[in-house]
Symmetry: C2
Subunit: 288 residues, 2 copies
Amino acid sequence: MDTTHQISKVEIIPHRIKAGQTRIPNIKNIIAVTSGKGGVGKSTTAINLATSLAQLGIKIGLLDADIYGPSIPILVGERDFKPEVLDKCFVPLEKFGIKIISFGFLIAEKQPAIWRGAIVGKALDQLLYDTQWGELDFLIIDMPPGTGDIHLTMCQKMPITAVIAVTTPQDIALIDVIKSIEMYKKLDIPCLGIIENMSIHICANCGFKEAIFGEMGAEKIAKDYNLEILAKLPLDISIRQSSDEGSPIGFEDTQIAKIYKELSLRIVHQVSLLAKDYSSKIGKINVL
Amino acid sequence: MDTTHQISKVEIIPHRIKAGQTRIPNIKNIIAVTSGKGGVGKSTTAINLATSLAQLGIKIGLLDADIYGPSIPILVGERDFKPEVLDKCFVPLEKFGIKIISFGFLIAEKQPAIWRGAIVGKALDQLLYDTQWGELDFLIIDMPPGTGDIHLTMCQKMPITAVIAVTTPQDIALIDVIKSIEMYKKLDIPCLGIIENMSIHICANCGFKEAIFGEMGAEKIAKDYNLEILAKLPLDISIRQSSDEGSPIGFEDTQIAKIYKELSLRIVHQVSLLAKDYSSKIGKINVL
């Protein structure tokens, strides 16, 4: 393992959430991983980021909120896990140093979740508030793609500290991630930056680099919205293989794992720059 | 152009829709292109299929129903098109021999559509019923990904003849397309078959074939659900390039275009095997 990425002790403090919202006791910060478009690697990013953060000694939870297509159970190799219920609360899966809960643990794998928006909102509430998270520095939420009902409900109700936007360099993905960035801006939730997935393919045979999904897409958005590019991940067969095998590549000792490690350090840094949460110290102020 | 794919005249007849639904006058068949997961190439399939069908002399309309991430305006190179309104109806864009309407034509490109489910349903109704389609053999609907609210509303209200399922070979895409197939089965709407996108990457430099997103995924589902594999499209930079350039590759004279042409012939064949719609001949039967 590259020791330059080792830091002796990371102390994470709670940061400011939207006015009117209440922080969940024991959860210092909630980070939502979002994308406008599906299939850009949002869940892969969420699990690998969580794994890398856990390796830094940070207390991590992961909530898979993609009700219509929960991918986390496959990505962690636990398609058949069913959480115990203790004191009316779900006991999360603990794997790779992460506490994990997913819609996918609660529904049959092949059944479509043909649920109306209001029910989804309630189910999400339950997963967030009725899971025995214990003490968490970060709870990472793997958001559903898009900017619809579920997002509105989640952002209005859940005390999200900040979001991370995931995209590929392709125009039709970029246009959707811009929508997502605009939505969080309107909802007054800060964006930590952009992660570009599938940015280049390197031929396993000859090493030829091909920008299958285009080039310089994330740079343009980063410039337009004054955001940082947090990481660029190549279109690499090993990422997909480790995903399908349920063993996050962030947990291994490879070039790709290094990118995720650097990403996790950058996230810790970006979060540390956010305004602190003094609410517990100054109490609640009532405007009369 | 390969003349073996030319057919002198294709006569398309209306096929049966779900009991209780009413066929839209002038629209013989509605084909929904669906996927469980986003980013698998659903919109790319919809536009290229529409283009290839139009080249067979079939009267084609395309409705981009992906309210939260409409990609069709980019794919046809008309990001700034605004439809005229005539007699309280939208006049669709006519391009590549297709009549096209999209949510993307009606909203500002960068604005997120933070709309609740009920409003989306009404907006969709309007796009379907209040567009001057003229006479159509097929109206292709580019569905939003997932199996949520919008799908329920659409499938209950809209007289869909059949669906086509699009996926990549990757496990986390397959699991979602299975959900979608199960949903349409429950809703009693026939599935014409599966299209596998990004099935193999061929290095532009050395020709090395790499199954970046896995292998044999569609075959397994096809077998399990007794469905046909309608086409397999490679992960090819030319498809993405033509997509971002707004010029469907199905319109060109390439190896990829040939696959789409064969796909369109297969679709015509599969539709012809469906039960006919005799409702106009026997009138409405009221059960007393």
